[in-house]
């Protein structure tokens, strides 16, 4: 029996092509997605191992909530380069005093302990004078010297010692086209500075496109303190153990060292030592989680492909079984059992499944390699292994074969159940009624829609404080659930509900969709429409492939277009200024650039948005953080028109009161008229300490110089003139070096905490300001000072009657030397968002194209099956005078209706989902709804084309059949 099956499989190979392609595509996505995830994980692990390579970390012992937002905004300072990935998932702990390093260094087995400072937002200028940027994006700058980063080793030159020197990671140097000895510009937070590349270093893993710059440790510390607004503290201290002579410690050794350090830490230090492995694992986990969304996205399309694949296989086997029915009947009549007949069919399925899966595994492999190559090409080299593991391959194989078996099982059963003498009547078994599916599907859709409504109510409740529903228990459950769950459950229910319901829709829909063809092409149109209603389940399943793909794309299309429209809406309705300027790196605009803009000819007024670092509200444990900005009193008249919720925003700002975004006000239960305590920090130069530090340094240098001179004298006395000469020049060199030292590195600062009570003057709803607190410069000056406040954005109004185009050109010229400052007019301000959204859409379109390809296979296959079932009918039509063109037309209309059916279902569902998502996230900036009708229209037109294309091959097949064969009596 198996031999018969294998022989049949060989005979049917041609017909299996489509099934094999479908299975291969599905499997390739499964394997590719697993493989891609593993590659990313591998990369993350590698980067963790090289970037967080300390044996023990000492960090704060108390977890902090809500701090992440401000830290992510302003700066990110950790003791290592570990958070170059998305660190939003990482827990934040209280900062610890860096003076602990002395205590730790004395612990037995510690080679060195120190805080490594990372400064974000620096921009490196490449050889040709442009800012360096890569797909990998981030530029991170670390204070590095010998030994601070074990995994980094100098390849050439030396580490940086002053603000005017840098060492570059080899990838950074390559990207920027810089060599040791070259001079370029580095844009520090406070402006561009000429720097000399003094060294190159490499790391053990690739950095996924990150540009890493090694700064002088003191310089890095300075900027870090400026950015974080805290002096003398760090989030992590990195500790290297000495046990293995410079090699990394084993996990047990790490643990022992950590225990020893913990013992040595003073009681009040609020610090704790943990092993490096622990930090790496938890950081890696957080990063992997952040990247985790990629795999499900790929898997959705794998599921579509496999769903269609199993369906195509079922169709193919139905055809084969139908044609071989006599053979099976013969086998049965000579004594084969149903199980044996079943086996002959299943063997074919296994052969097919194996072939498809193997091809799929290969394709998946190629796909991931392609992605890696593409990413490397775009500047994000990956060294993570991109080869599928054995388990990936097995998963692919099992999935592929299983799907094939599922698809083939029903036809195989039909073959097995063939009575020994099969009456070959062509009467197609009437379908089971579809109304139960209609009822079930409708019920699911209603539940899904209810879930969406609930979700929308919850979101509304969160924003406007209205009750979710009149029922108390539901309100409690809803507030516990949040919006994510009901949204997801609703979407799932609606999608599955539509798929369940679809067969019941085929009848009415084909009448509606068939109306035009039935009137334009009277006969063929009517025949086509009726044919579709014949196999309602089959038609619906065929359309489902397009349905899912189109639903996803149109849902995201609505969200994307709403996002664009919302931004455009803000600009159109609220933004009053003519230009805006932002930093292209992480936010800070250098003061000199601001000055340059102010001085530009034709500028009427400049509004400056300055962010206040580390501001908290309230007292004691109830302190909350909020993004706080200092603005000019003219903000609401010249830059943004306020959308006031309560109070008078303009007056409040002018009077030095707080203007609070509605989200912040809700979170804290603030009302207009409340008085809140604002806590800030002011960093001032500690004159005493600075003088002392300078004196100490002076003394140190003098001691060194005089020491050297003394040695020179001694050597001279002992007759070694050359040696004395060398020592003397060394002494001179030391004195010279001391003169070159940037005096700012010796400036000591101290932080004073401030507490100011301010009245809340207004609550505003503008989506840009929703989660911010605004105050005027005067009030801000009481809370912070220039060290803890920096400019994020500028809004420029042109002088009356100024030519905007010319002014823009002058502004761009004015900020050119600062590299990072972007001047945009109103249109560009709108389009920054649009470009981003468009890029995301591009990826979506690629996925859509894929689901269309799969759907075409599905339609081709369904039509082929349908044609093979209707051989006689088509023959009859031909015999009574139907032309070839009419047959083609009929099948074309059928296919087009299937495609349009799936597309319309997908659009309706997708747009509905998009509308719900928009409503739920209204507070997060999706303030206006925009449905991309033009785009949807294109989809619809495209679906008709897709259908027509898909019908070409089945129609040719139908016509190839001689009329005689079709109608001749058996």
């Amino acid at each position: 029996m198996i031999r018969i099956g294998l022989r049949d499989a060989r005979a049917h190979l041609g017909r299996f092509v489509m099934s094999i392609i479908a299975i291969a595509l599905g499997v390739s996505f499964v394997v590719g997605s697993f493989c891609f995830r593993e590659m990313m994980n591998n990369q993350v692990d590698q980067m963790m191992a090289s970037n967080s390579d300390a044996d023990v970390y000492v960090r704060g012992s108390k977890e902090q909530k809500g701090a992440a937002a401000t830290d992510a905004m302003g700066s990110s300072g950790s003791s290592s380069g570990s958070d170059s990935g998305g660190s939003s998932e990482t827990k934040t702990y209280n900062r610890i005093d860096i003076s602990l390093t002395d205590t730790i260094a004395k612990v037995e087995g510690v080679a060195r302990a120190e805080a490594v400072y990372q400064v974000s937002g620096l921009v490196l200028v490449d050889k040709s004078g442009n800012a360096v940027s890569t797909m990998g994006g981030v530029t991170s700058s670390l204070g590095l010297k010998d030994g601070t980063w074990r995994s980094a080793s100098l390849v050439k030159g030396r580490w940086a010692r002053t603000k005017h020197e840098i060492a570059l990671h080899t990838f950074a140097a390559e990207t920027a086209g810089l060599e040791v000895g070259d001079t370029t510009k580095l844009v520090y937070p406070d402006g561009a500075v000429d720097v000399k590349v003094v060294g190159l270093f490499s790391t053990t893993s690739s950095q996924a496109g990150a540009i890493i710059i090694g700064l002088a440790p003191e310089v890095a510390k300075d900027y870090f303190q400026q950015q974080s607004g805290q002096v003398g503290t760090a989030r992590y201290l990195a500790v290297y153990g000495s046990a293995n002579g410079g090699q990394p410690l084993s996990e047990a050794q790490q643990q022992r060292l950590a225990d020893r350090i913990n013992e040595a830490l003073p009681a009040g230090s609020k610090a704790v030592a943990i092993t490096g492995q622990h930090v790496r694992d938890s950081n890696a986990e957080a990063t992997k989680k952040a990247l985790g969304f990629v795999q499900p996205l790929i898997l959705i399309f794998a599921v579509i492909a496999l769903f269609v694949g199993s369906f195509i296989i079922a169709n193919t086997f139905s055809m084969i079984v139908r044609e071989s029915m006599r053979g099976y009947a013969l086998l049965r009549s000579i004594g084969a059992s149903p199980a044996q007949v079943f086996v002959t069919v299943v063997v074919q399925a296994i052969v097919l499944g194996l072939m498809g899966s193997l091809i799929g595994i290969g394709l998946g492999w190629i796909m991931v390699k392609g992605i890696v190559a593409l990413m490397a090409h775009m500047g994000t080299p990956m060294t993570g292994s991109s080869n599928p593991s054995v388990s990936d391959m097995l998963v692919g194989l099992v999935v592929g074969v299983l799907v094939t078996l599922i698809g083939a099982s029903l036809p195989a059963r039909r073959a097995a159940m063939a009575p020994p003498i099969q009456a070959m009547n062509e009467t197609v078994n009437p379908e089971k009624p579809v109304w139960p599916r209609g009822v079930a599907g409708t019920a699911m859709i209603v539940c899904g829609a209810a879930s969406w409504v609930l979700c929308w109510r919850i979101a509304a409740a969160n924003n406007d404080g209205v009750a979710v529903s009149p029922w108390g228990w539901l309100n409690d459950a809803a507030s516990a659930m949040g919006t994510g769950w009901p949204l997801g459950v609703g979407a799932g229910l609606v999608v599955i509900g539509v798929i369940v319901l679809a067969p019941a829709l085929v009848g009415p829909t084909s009448v509606v969709l068939g109306w035009i063809p039935a009137h334009v092409f009277t006969v063929t149109g009517r025949l086509a429409t009726r044919n579709l209603a014949r196999g309602k389940r089959r038609t619906a399943n065929t359309a489902a492939a397009l349905f899912v793909g189109v639903a996803i794309v149109s849902c995201l299309g609505v969200v994307a277009s709403s996002a664009k429209a919302s931004v455009a809406g803000i600009v159109d309705s609220g933004l009053k200024s003519d230009f805006s300027a932002m930093s292209a790196s992480d936010g800070r605009i250098p003061d000199d650039a601001i000055e340059a803009i102010r001085k530009t000819d034709g500028v009427g007024s400049v509004s400056q948005s300055r962010m206040l670092m580390g501001v908290t509200y309230g007292s004691g444990d109830d302190r909350t953080q909020a993004m706080t900005f200092a603005e000019q009193p003219s903000l609401f008249t010249k830059v943004f028109a306020p959308v006031t919720h309560a109070g008078d925003a303009d007056k409040a700002l002018r009077d030095g009161e707080l203007v609070v975004g509605i989200a912040v006000a809700k979170d804290n239960g603030w009302k207009v008229g409340d008085t809140v305590r604002v806590n800030g920090r002011q960093v001032v130069v500690d004159k005493e300490a600075t003088a002392k530090a300078q004196a100490e340094y002076q003394a140190q240098v003098e001691a060194k110089v005089s020491g050297l001179q003394a040695e020179a004298q001694q050597l001279l006395a002992s007759g070694d003139a050359a040696g004395a000469q060398a020592k003397a020049s060394k002494a001179r060199q030391a004195a010279e070096d001391a003169k070159n030292v940037d005096p700012s590195t010796l400036v000591k600062t101290k932080t004073t905490l401030t507490h100011v009570k301010v009245r809340i003057g207004a609550i505003i709803e503008n989506s840009v300001y929703r989660s911010m607190v605004l105050m005027n410069d005067e009030t801000a000056g009481k809370v912070t000072n220039e060290y803890t406040m920096f400019t994020i954005m500028l809004f420029v109004n042109a002088a009356r009657g100024e030519d905007l185009g010319a002014l823009k050109a002058r502004l761009i010229k004015a900020v050119k030397p600062y590299y990072v400052v972007n001047v945009q007019d109103r249109e560009e301000f709108k389009s920054t968002m649009s470009t981003m959204v468009d890029q995301i859409l591009l990826v979506l379109y690629a996925l859509l194209a894929l689901s269309i390809v799969i759907a075409v296979f599905g339609i081709v296959n369904t039509l082929a099956l349908s044609v093979s079932e209707r051989t006689k009918e088509i023959g009859l039509l031909r015999a009574i005078g139907t032309s070839r063109a009419q047959v083609r037309g009929m099948l074309g209309i059928e296919a087009a209706i299937i495609a349009v059916f799936g597309t319309v279902m997908g659009m309706v569902t997708g747009v509905a989902a998009g509308v719900v998502i928009r409503a739920v996230y209204e507070a997060n900036g999706l303030s206006s709804l925009s449905v991309p009708w033009g785009q949807l229209g294109v989809f619809l037109a495209l679906s008709i084309v897709v259908g027509l294309v898909a019908s070409v091959s089945p129609a040719s097949r139908a016509l190839r059949q001689p009329v005689l064969d079709a109608v001749a009596a058996e």
């Binding site: 009437p430 209603a533 009918e873 009859l876 031909r878 015999a879 009574i880 005078g881 001749a968």
Partner: protein, 276 residues
């Protein structure tokens, strides 16, 4: 109406053959609706050659019902398929209304089927998704011809389907389905209807109804019908019976009785047996 139509066809037939023959020949052609000239049809390759039709010459008269009989493998179905343009003869010519069917391409064949030929098959005559009425009107709609409602009513009344027009084929009995098929074949008023075992799947009562209708259409409307059957009872309704054996016409009977056919048939098969 039918007469008029037939005359119309006659004129056309005449015009087409004008160049071929002289006046007497034309006269002859006028009462011939279809003919085969030296028709040969073989299957298979040289090693394994099966001759289904062996130099068959035959003419089918206008306004008569001709039955083609013969045992299995005698070539009766092949003859009909070649006559109707469903099958391509190996050599020889086929004319329907003076048009050479055997030399036609697909487009011309489609036109021929729309204008000159009606079909009734043994089974699967109707499009299952269309109602009886839609099936009957289908050939006209396919050919985008205007529908003659009077003629439709007349045909439907004759086949007795007035009450069943909105039914789908699956809701009709086998006899009713065949009557719908007959009505459909009649509807376009073709020059000739080819019926392939039209009663093959029917019980005797339904067979009588269908055959009665076919005979009536010949008598009342001058319809030409060529019917393949192996049922002597069905053949006895015909005006003329041709008997085929091994690709040759062995008998040509004019208005034979049922008994006569049985007798001939018994001889024919007997002869075959003796030959073998």
């Amino acid at each position: 109406m039918a007469r008029h139509n037939a005359q119309h066809n006659v004129r056309r037939g005449g015009r087409n053959t004008e160049t071929v023959g002289n006046e007497t020949e034309r006269e002859e052609r006028d009462h011939v609706v279809a003919r085969a000239v030296d028709l040969v049809k073989t299957y298979g390759d040289a090693d394994n050659l099966v001759t289904a039709l062996d130099h068959v010459n035959v003419e089918f008269e206008r306004g008569r019902m001709t039955a083609i009989m013969g045992p299995s493998g005698s070539g009766k179905s092949t003859l009909m398929h070649c006559m109707a343009g469903l099958d391509q003869p190996t050599s020889g010519q086929v004319f329907v209304e003076g048009l050479e069917v055997s030399a036609m391409n697909q487009r011309q064949l489609t036109r021929l089927r729309r204008q000159q030929i009606g079909f009734i098959f043994q089974s699967f005559n109707l499009v299952p998704t269309l109602s009886a009425e839609e099936n009957i009107l289908l050939p006209l709609q396919i050919a985008r011809k205007p529908i003659d409602r009077d003629w439709f009513d007349q045909v439907v009344r004759v086949v007795g389907l007035e009450q069943r027009l909105t039914h789908r084929p699956s809701q009709l009995s086998g006899g009713q389905q065949q009557r719908v098929a007959c009505a459909r074949a009649m509807m376009a008023r073709p020059s000739v209807i080819f019926a392939d075992e039209p009663t093959g799947n029917l019980d005797s009562r339904s067979s009588r109804e269908v055959l009665g209708f076919l005979k009536q259409s010949v008598a009342d409307y001058g319809q030409s019908i060529v019917m393949v059957t192996h049922d002597p009872r069905a053949a006895s309704y015909a005006d003329r019976v041709l008997v085929l054996a091994d690709g040759h016409i062995t008998q040509d009977l004019d208005h034979p009785t049922y008994e006569r056919i049985l007798e001939v048939f018994a001889d024919g098969t007997g002869d075959d047996g003796a030959d073998a």
